[in-house]
Symmetry: C2
Subunit: 135 residues, 2 copies
């Protein structure tokens, strides 16, 4: 069982630059009225973008840096009428490893900056991976 005790370090590969400045402004999911945003990819890993093009559909993984990692039960969608539920049965950002999954489309590419959307995270959210939706 030693593998379950391994710690792994994540290094952000970029950051989201968005008009959404506060958690209160952020929709719960991208398709619920979220805007487009810029994804600024670090120069050190920009070579990894080769092959991406305008119109591509991606899955972005983000690090939800404002989340509470000690929470194991929540009211789904912050609705107190809904019973407390395990975080692994919800999309709550509060969870042991607060990774966000976001299906987005590339609107535009300017060197290591990608205009993408829709995306509901706040300005300054670290991005940890980019994957093609289909492969």
């Amino acid at each position: 069982m030693s593998e379950t005790k391994v710690e792994a370090k994540l290094y952000p590969i970029g950051v989201i630059r968005s008009a959404i400045q506060t958690l209160a402004q952020a929709p719960k999911q991208g398709p619920e009225g979220a805007p487009d945003a810029w994804l600024e990819v670090n120069e050190s890993v920009a070579e990894g973008l080769d092959g991406l093009a305008k119109g591509d559909e991606l899955i972005l993984l983000t690090w939800l840096h404002r989340a509470n990692r000690d929470v194991l039960k929540v009211h789904p969608r912050s609705d107190p009428q809904r019973r407390l539920t395990g975080v692994f049965a919800t999309r709550s950002p509060d969870r042991p490893n607060p990774i966000g999954i976001h299906p987005v489309t590339i609107r535009e590419i300017q060197e290591n900056r990608l205009r993408i959307g829709p995306i509901e995270v706040i300005d300054g959210t670290p991005v940890i991976d980019i994957k093609p939706l289909n492969c």
Copy 2:
């Protein structure tokens, strides 16, 4: 830009117990002939499973602990005939933050052990998050 330098530590929430013992035995993606496996969730976070049921469709996030994190370009699907492509335009496990995304179905639940599949990762792969596919 300070957010892009933040380091984040992941703590595995469980581990995959699979008949796949070596990378050579592993299919590239779950639907390509992968077996079912057991997901053993750590007791410390098992409360987070409350609300999950047999038949639910999930997205599992794993830490691909054998991956090479220094690779930025690969031949897609390890095919030398295909031109070198940025890792962010591929599903290669080799990438700066080697996180695997796996759509799976719950076949059975035994307390903190979930029988899930299909899943292509090797025995001992750490699991870092569980999310419902729909919410």
